[in-house]
């Protein structure tokens, strides 16, 4: 093409590309907006490119989304922060489109730009955008405006601040629930920028209105923001304003509201301090732990440890523990599972004696739960209890639980327990492990499911790391190598994989003496898949082995494989040979 010498008009290129009917090309060119801007220079970017983009936003949502994102990082291309305001008009238009993703991205970019703008630029340019959007005709503009107040407010002058608060109050009473929901979910962010005095009065009255909205969906979002709002207030104000609301909500007829309360009650406890917590929030929490609806109990049970950490041990034992006992035999397995995932953390909170007297029986009964997730959740957090009471009290109950999980018919359960074996090994110690768990670890190598065999091989490596090569030499290597004679090639493949994982841990000598011969032998296997895996494993062993061994044993074997009738075997053998040469050259 002879066009290299012709002058190029960057905007013309863009206009042309954006006219293309192939959306991929339009997207590509939007993704390279910064190139165009740099080619144009800052001034022409401001005067030509940005106005062009402001007017051309009639494209498909995907293109608009890309544009909204690019403009968010465009400040350097328009000449720095003092010119940042030129980016606002196109983003303002994008914040009003119908597609939620585009609007959200435009608001995000507006915030990003606004956060860098100078105070008087915010007043001159950003706040007018917020005001225009907030009074937009269609709800999309008003929804978008709600996410901008927290950027605008801190830089505003006092009269403007008053105006912004008033506008926000109006948005919270908008005719459309969509807008009220947006206002409710952004209230926390906005409130964080508002001065204490206004917080107590105006913001709290906005909050009160939202909590009494006739749409459940709006009330729900107001509750969601409760804790965030509570943390902004002085403790006594929080007690006066938020506490009654939340206590009320904890008995709401909608389970979704109670669920929200259950999820964030502990955060509110932090905000109000110990005394009101004891008087009001503990009873509310206890009610939620005994809620009729399982979903609410699930949420409450999942926070039991966090909640207890805030309370004194006596209060926890007196009020929460009885509920925990009930929950441990709850009719819903999901409740028990949620409880099991956090209950071990209560041990450090309650201390040794209470743990042995009160928690241990619960642990034991959960370890016998019929639902595998419950048992797994207990086992996964074993270390937390170990620190408090030691493992001995639990170990006798652990073993049957582990064995049963190890043989569960769902492979995902088996996989989960394998992941915890190294943790268990470190907690239980070598002795216990040798007696009870060693056989299980070998058994998994011959599981029917590949993922289990893979995890089993990995597990052996982690055990060898935990207990050291000497121990592995005795308890792992012989058993593993024995299995290389399995009649099924898939199991032989697992052993090869295990060897390549174990070799780095075991070191050069053992690899050379024990592992390598087995691998070399397998190169005579009748199954090509085994043979090319031999090539792969040999390649992985080269860095560990002495050069002489590589030359004497590995290479001849690979050369032989490289002449195999199977194309894949030849391919991997050649790969491995090349790797050998490279390593030799570099050393």
């Amino acid at each position: 093409m002879a066009m290299v010498d012709e002058p190029l008009y960057p905007i013309a290129v863009l206009i042309d590309e954006l006219k293309n009917e192939d959306i991929q090309l339009r997207l590509n060119s939007i993704r390279r907006l910064s190139t165009i801007a740099r080619a144009l220079g800052e001034e022409r970017t401001r005067k030509e490119l940005i106005p062009f983009l402001s007017e051309n936003n009639d494209d498909e949502d995907e293109v608009l989304l890309a544009m909204a994102e690019e403009l968010g990082v465009f400040i350097p291309y328009v000449g720095g922060v003092e010119h940042a305001h030129v980016l606002l008009p196109p983003l303002e238009t994008l914040s009003t489109v119908e597609e939620t993703c585009v609007r959200d991205k435009a608001v995000e970019s507006l915030c990003r730009i606004g956060a860098q703008m100078k105070e008087n630029d915010i007043v001159d340019f950003f706040i007018p955008v917020v005001k225009r959007l907030a009074s937009g005709e269609w709800f999309t503009a008003r929804v978008s405006s709600c996410g901008l107040f927290h950027i605008a407010y801190p830089s505003a002058t006092d009269p403007l601040k008053t105006e912004l608060r008033t506008i926000y109050g109006q948005l919270c009473q908008d005719d459309m629930p969509m807008v009220r929901r947006a206002a409710a979910s952004n209230l926390g962010k906005f409130a964080a920028t508002v001065e204490q005095s206004h917080l107590k009065t105006e913001i709290m009255s906005i909050f009160d209105d939202l909590t009494q909205d006739d749409q459940d969906s709006v009330r729900l979002l107001a509750v969601e923001g409760c804790a965030a709002l509570g943390k902004l207030l002085e403790p006594q104000d929080c007690v006066a304003h938020i506490l009654p609301v939340i206590v009320n909500f904890s008995q709401d007829k909608s389970w979704r509201v109670r669920y929200m309360v259950a999820n964030q009650l502990y955060e509110l406890c932090e905000a109000v301090g110990p005394e009101p917590t004891r008087a009001d929030l503990v009873p509310a929490y206890v009610r939620l732990l005994r809620d009729n609806e399982a979903e609410v109990r699930i949420a409450a049970a999942g926070k039991v440890t966090k909640f207890c950490r805030i309370l004194s041990p006596q209060l926890a034992i007196q009020h929460i523990l009885p509920c925990v006992k009930e929950l441990s035999s709850d009719s819903s397995q999901h409740v028990r599972s949620a409880l099991a995932s956090v209950i071990m953390g209560m041990a450090p909170v309650l201390g040794k004696d209470a743990t042995i007297a009160e928690l241990l029986p619960i642990f034991l009964s959960l370890l016998k739960d019929e639902f595998p997730d419950v048992r797994l959740n207990i086992i996964s957090k074993l270390d937390q209890v170990n620190q408090v009471i030691g493992i001995d009290l639990l170990s006798q109950s652990l073993l049957p639980a582990i064995v049963e999980l190890a043989e569960d018919r769902h492979w995902r359960v088996r996989l989960a327990i394998i992941e915890y074996i190294p943790l268990l090994a470190s907690q239980l110690g070598v002795g216990f492990f040798d007696d009870k768990l060693g056989a299980l670890c070998m058994q998994w190598l011959e599981d029917k499911v590949f993922s289990i065999r893979e995890a089993a091989a990995n597990n052996l490596k982690r055990l060898a790391e935990e207990f050291g090569p000497e121990w592995a030499m005795q308890h792992i290597i012989p058993q593993v190598l024995e299995k290389i004679n399995n009649p099924h090639y898939l199991y032989r493949m697992t052993i090869l994989q295990a060897i390549s994982l174990l070799a780095p841990v075991m070191g050069a000598d053992i690899t050379c003496q024990k592992l390598l011969p087995v691998v070399i032998n397998s190169s005579k296997d009748r199954v090509p898949n085994i043979k090319f895996n031999v090539a792969k494993v040999l390649q992985s062993l080269v860095p560990i082995l002495d050069q002489s061994v590589v030359d004497k044993t590995v290479k001849p074997c690979l050369v032989e494989l490289s002449e195999d009738p199977d194309v894949d075997v030849r391919y991997y053998a050649n790969q491995a040979l090349q790797a050998c040469d490279q390593i030799m050259m570099s050393s």
Binding site: A12, V13, R32, A39, P177, H410
Partner: protein, 454 residues
């Protein structure tokens, strides 16, 4: 006390106009008895536990049924107190919070049971309450002017919330009730339209789940068919802002027949709207979901059936670009469905009259299918369609054919040129020298626009 007695109490000389004046004493006792029964029905029982309170539950059902009979057999207007009591009872029984979705008990079993409808155990009572509500809103003896005080926006709003019920039987009842309320309580109509729009907006833009979209649309099918001509701006806005975006959610298949019905109702009222609808369909056209794409093609055909020439010409270029894309779909059903559009006589007619525009748009797609499509049946139909164009206008087809070849040959060059352009831009950007060019009025070096294979 039996309901029959109630009915006969005030009968002799009670004229509908002044029920309370004539036999105040008797009227009073009829009213009292009625309200007493309604009050009994305000106790809500727990159906989670089957055995609990069963005699009371049975009694309540009996009382509810007797109320159904007595409204059905009423021969004089219900008093305001009776209406108020009824609506209160409806609120107490019907307006409830739905329980959370049941989590599946075992890990593997969930997939098969996913779409099982849920049947509310308290349906034993609810069914009769709905029956009563329906009698209430349809009874000629319930004066809408008085009842409106109780069947107000808050009542309607809560009723609309119930459309999210998991129980299909309940949604079915609600559909009928809402339809009747819309018919009888004229004052509530704007509110209902607004509230339903809000449900649609939320469903579309907050990516929510909603069980009752199909039922709401069904009610609106008849609401729309009742709109006066010419259509008000407000109603057209409803089409554009609330109905057309309903094509976006991935569950559109659940309610598409009802949605299409609503939309065709609009077009029948005002044929000019067909173009708007088609542009809307193109805006929400699915990119990866072939199942949805086939549904869209189906709806497109229905809309095109109704379109007139002027509107057709306004949107045919983007429309046939899209159809050309569908023709090349590697999902053979999509490709087939698109090819079958030519079997539609009305459409065929319009295509042949506008062939100078349309054939050049779709010819490259046909040619690509003929060369590359994997599916034999798509291949065959493609050949037929091409033959059809050939018979329609031989010269045009040959022109397209040679043009296609030229474009194909130029394509590699065009792509190379695009690459070079960007490369040079990149270089210019890196070594930017200000004021080397001025903004041109027309891009002289613009590469020709060429469709790329996707």
């Amino acid at each position: 006390m039996s309901p029959r007695e109630n009915g006969s109490v005030g009968k002799p000389n009670a004229s509908p106009r002044s029920p309370s004046g004539v036999a105040a004493g008797e009227g009073r006792s009829r009213e009292d008895a009625f309200i007493q029964k309604v009050d009994i029905c305000c106790t809500v029982y727990d159906f989670a536990d089957r055995g609990k309170d069963s005699p009371e539950k049975e009694r309540k059902r009996q009382v509810l049924m007797s109320l159904v009979d007595s409204i059905g057999a009423a021969e004089e207007p219900l008093t305001e107190a009776m209406m108020s009591a009824c609506v209160h009872m409806f609120r107490v029984n019907l307006f409830r919070v739905f329980p959370p979705k049941v989590r599946s008990a075992t890990v593997g079993a969930s997939e098969t049971e996913e779409d099982e409808p849920f049947f509310d155990p308290s349906w034993y009572h609810l069914q009769v309450v709905y029956e009563l509500l329906l009698r209430f809103v349809t009874s000629p003896f319930v004066d809408p002017k008085v009842a409106r005080k109780y069947v107000d926006s808050s009542f309607v709003s809560k009723l609309l919330d119930l459309f999210d019920s998991d129980d299909p039987r309940e949604r079915d009842c609600l559909k009928t009730v809402l339809h009747r309320i819309y018919g009888k309580f004229m004052g509530n109509r704007p509110f209902i339209r607004k509230a339903v729009s809000n449900i649609f907006y939320r469903f579309v833009s907050e990516a929510d789940h909603h069980n009752g979209i199909a039922e709401l649309l069904e009610v609106f099918g008849s609401v729309i068919s009742g709109f006066a001509k010419p259509l008000k701006e407000e109603h057209k806005l409803f089409l554009w802002k609330a109905l057309i975006p309903l094509h976006k959610p991935k569950t559109v298949g659940v309610y598409l027949p009802q949605l299409t019905y609503c939309i065709t109702q609009f077009i029948e009222k005002e044929p000019k709207l067909a173009g708007t609808v088609i542009r809307g369909l193109l805006k929400y056209w699915p990119v990866t979901n072939s199942q949805k794409e086939m549904m869209f093609l189906g709806e497109l055909e229905e809309v095109l059936e109704l379109i007139d020439m002027a509107e057709f010409q306004k949107c045919m270029v983007p429309l046939f670009r899209r159809i050309a894309n569908c023709l090349n779909s590697s999902h053979f059903q999509v490709a087939e469905r698109a090819l079958f559009l030519w079997n539609n006589e009305h459409l065929f007619d319009m295509i042949s009259q506008n062939r100078q525009v349309i054939v050049p748009l779709v010819y490259p797609a046909l040619e690509r299918n003929a060369r590359l499509h994997w599916n034999q049946s798509v291949l065959n139909v493609t050949m037929n369609v091409r033959k059809m164009f050939f018979d329609m206008d031989e010269r045009l087809l040959l022109a397209c054919q040679s043009n296609f070849q030229v474009e194909e040959e130029k394509r590699a060059a065009t792509e190379e040129r695009r690459r070079l352009t960007w490369e040079q831009l990149e270089r210019n950007a890196d070594a930017f020298q200000p004021a080397n060019t001025s903004f041109p009025a027309a891009p002289s070096s613009a590469p020709p626009v060429v469709p790329t294979v996707t």
